[in-house]
């Protein structure tokens, strides 16, 4: 999953980005002002936007309105230092999905980020199931036919992204864009190796095919 973090407080942005990269293993892009944030958000590769309210250039509220005005459905989590009900109501009414008041708990931020991504992809249960495959997004564990499957971090992330879109052809570019931050192109060669490892580990348990490669178009989780 890939997250856009728009926060002008550099130290806070660094900490949040590190936490998101280390905890749920998200790819994180940072923007330090509203205009850059708005520009980056045009890219449909983000699964979540974390937006600070007090931003130079363009304030968070305006960024949010503009993002929603152009029809973007990406979940938006607001970081705010204001805790008055009025300002929160205005935020939610402007199209925000959730908010956190500063100073916040990093664990809570991660949990909310996960929940928003899950909801944004149409899932309510943190345990995702597809036929005999089960992915627990909280523990980051995978079971096939009841047997645990041991995956590397990248393999897990590929599977997590694919299981949100079952039986849909996901292009290599889409997969790359959602797994890595702005320098995703550097990883384009290794993705095939990761896919083949993932496929091997999933099929080891049941001998059933799992990920189908459609040449020139992408991958499909069966």
């Amino acid at each position: 999953m890939r997250v856009l973090l728009v926060e002008d407080e550099v130290r806070l942005a660094e900490n949040v980005a590190s936490a998101l990269r280390e905890g749920p293993i998200f790819a994180v892009d940072c923007a330090e002002d509203g205009l850059t944030g708005l520009h980056l958000a045009e890219n449909p590769c983000y699964d979540l936007i974390i937006l600070d309210l007090m931003l130079p250039g363009l304030d968070g509220m305006s960024v949010l309105r503009k993002v929603r005005a152009r029809g973007d459905r990406t979940p938006v989590l607001i970081l705010t230092a204001k805790s008055e009900a009025g300002s929160i109501i205005a935020l939610l009414n402007a199209g925000a999905d959730d908010y956190l008041t500063k100073p916040f708990d990093l664990g809570e931020l991660i949990a909310r980020a996960k929940a928003l991504i899950r909801r944004g992809k149409g899932a309510a249960d943190p345990i995702l199931r597809l036929s005999d495959l089960q992915v627990n997004t909280v523990e980051q564990s995978v079971h096939r036919s009841g047997k645990p499957v041991d995956l590397s971090a990248t393999e897990y992330r590929i599977l997590e992204y694919l299981i949100h879109r079952p039986r849909v052809i996901v292009s290599k570019r889409e997969l790359l864009e959602h797994l890595y931050d702005y320098n995703w192109e550097h990883h384009s060669n290794v993705i095939e190796a990761h896919i083949s490892n993932l496929r091997r580990k999933l099929e080891a348990a049941t001998q059933q095919p799992s990920i189908e490669t459609i040449r020139g178009r992408g991958y499909r989780l069966l």
Binding site: D8, E9, V10, N15, E32, M54, A81
Partner: protein
């Protein structure tokens, strides 16, 4: 002082004045009535006494005496009289005559008989017996005492006085009520103004004085003063609220950074080196919180005038000390601070605050000019004013930011200032210090050319000379 009502005081005063007037009028009326009525009473008394003299006739006896001929019976019954001849012989007296008062002095005297009071007259009369005789007859002198009761006169006088008094009292009551009504109506705009002013609170500053209050000459200054005071209070309250909000935001952000730094460390097991680095960062974050709090306290102190109100400092020396303090920072970016000035310039200010002011301005100039560019500072004295100028050749301040540079927590470019460690309070502190010592501070800037800060402070040279 006891609380009192202007209305009641006014009414009481007016009524008292009217009461005094009524009493005076009644008294004067009594005196006048008494005078007039007793004058006519006296004329009447004299007339009756003369009629009594007419009743004195020749007694036709050998001694040529006189006597009363009986016509005196036609005089009013309640009157008293007695007629004596020169020898003291009583020729006759009225039936109710009870005798003379002890010593009648003067022409008129008082007498009382049968429980009644009389005003009496004593006249000397002359009756000539046998005027047809040779030698013109024999003159016989008689003394007549004649009195009439004064009861009726007095009752007439009292009636007149009572009429005057009653009329005055009636007028008094009517005017009292009229004054009360008029005052009540006249003071209505004041009450309206008060109730409107009472509606003002920190939640609603809306104060619209009633139109009537504005039109009344006596109330207009009060209305204007209220409006001015409330507007000033609202401005300062809003500024304080803005400051509290900004300060809260600032501190919350700083705490959020610190908290997230700590939580990041506990997110998973780390190596000792990672912990060490993390703790170093936490310490830096802590220092930032500390700096923000320290600056907020400095600002609060500079604004609340807790420092002594009189102090003298050498502006030139303060500037030089501040420049020395930042020399190492300047060297990092190969910058130079040129301080110009000829000798001490004494101003009325506290040296520590002045040094802080110079330091903040110097640091700003250093931070906002590129590496290798110099910062110039000089102190001059112009009569009663001392001037401090600090100039840089930096990127300048955008015209839209210029009016806000002294606002608390204002940052022209927040992310940039945060990277350089600015709290957005430096210039606000400068302004507070300059205002504290009755000076001014202004900043002029041209984008891409440079910025100049100019501080004017009242010179203390005159006072110093006197002290020495």
């Amino acid at each position: 002082m006891k609380p009192y009502s202007i209305t009641h005081r006014l009414i009481t005063t007016v009524l008292l004045v009217e009461l005094v007037a009524a009493v005076s009028i009644s008294g004067a009326a009594m005196l006048y009535e008494r005078h007039v009525r007793f004058r006519s009473f006296d004329i009447m008394l004299r007339g009756r006494a003369d009629s009594l003299l007419g009743a004195v006739q020749d007694a036709e006896d050998t001694a040529d005496n006189v006597m009363l001929d009986g016509t005196e019976a036609s005089l009013p019954q309640e009157d008293i009289y007695q007629v004596e001849d020169a020898g003291g012989r009583v020729l006759g007296h009225s039936q109710n005559w009870t005798g003379m008062p002890a010593s009648p002095t003067g022409k008129f005297f008082r007498a009382s008989a049968g429980g009644k009071h009389y005003r009496a007259l004593r006249i000397e009369g002359l009756r000539v017996v046998d005027p047809g005789d040779k030698g013109g007859g024999i003159p016989r002198r008689v003394t007549i005492f004649y009195g009439a009761p004064t009861e009726r006169v007095w009752s007439e006088i009292w009636e007149a006085v009572a009429f005057y008094a009653a009329t005055s009292l009636g007028l008094l009551a009517i005017s009292g009520m009229l004054i009360f009504l008029l005052l009540n109506r006249g003071l209505a705009p004041l009450r309206e103004l008060a109730s409107e002013a009472a509606g003002v609170s920190v939640e609603s500053w809306n104060f619209i004085p009633p139109e009537r209050a504005r039109m009344i000459r006596e109330l207009a200054p009060l209305t204007a003063a209220l409006e001015t005071v409330l507007a000033g209070l609202e401005r300062s309250f809003m500024r304080q609220r803005q400051f509290v909000g900004d300060a809260a935001h600032e501190l919350k952000t700083a705490v959020a950074v610190l908290k997230s730094s700590l939580q990041l460390l506990t997110l998973k097991q780390r190596t000792a080196l990672e912990y060490e680095r993390g703790l170093e960062r936490c310490q830096l974050d802590c220092e930032r919180v500390e700096e923000t709090v320290a600056k907020m306290l400095t600002l609060a102190r500079a604004e609340t005038n807790t420092t002594p109100s009189s102090a003298v400092a050498d502006l030139d020396q303060c500037l030089r000390q501040a420049a020395q303090q930042f020399e190492s920072i300047a060297e990092l970016k190969r910058q130079q601070i040129f301080v110009m000035g000829d000798g001490p310039v004494m101003v009325e200010a506290e040296p520590e605050q002045l040094q802080l002011l110079c330091g903040n301005l110097l640091l700003n100039a250093l931070q906002h000019s590129p590496a290798g560019f110099p910062v110039r500072a000089w102190v001059t004295q112009d009569g009663t004013r001392a001037e401090l100028a600090i100039e840089d050749d930096g990127e300048g301040i955008a015209p839209q930011d210029l009016p806000h540079v002294f606002d608390r927590f204002y940052r022209g470019d927040p992310s940039r200032s945060r990277k350089t460690g600015g709290t957005g309070l430096g210039l606000a502190i400068c302004k507070a210090i300059a205002s504290r010592w009755h000076g001014t501070i202004e900043i002029t800037s041209d984008l891409g050319i440079g910025t100049r800060a100019l501080v004017c402070l009242p010179s203390a040279s005159v006072k110093v000379a006197v002290r020495h």
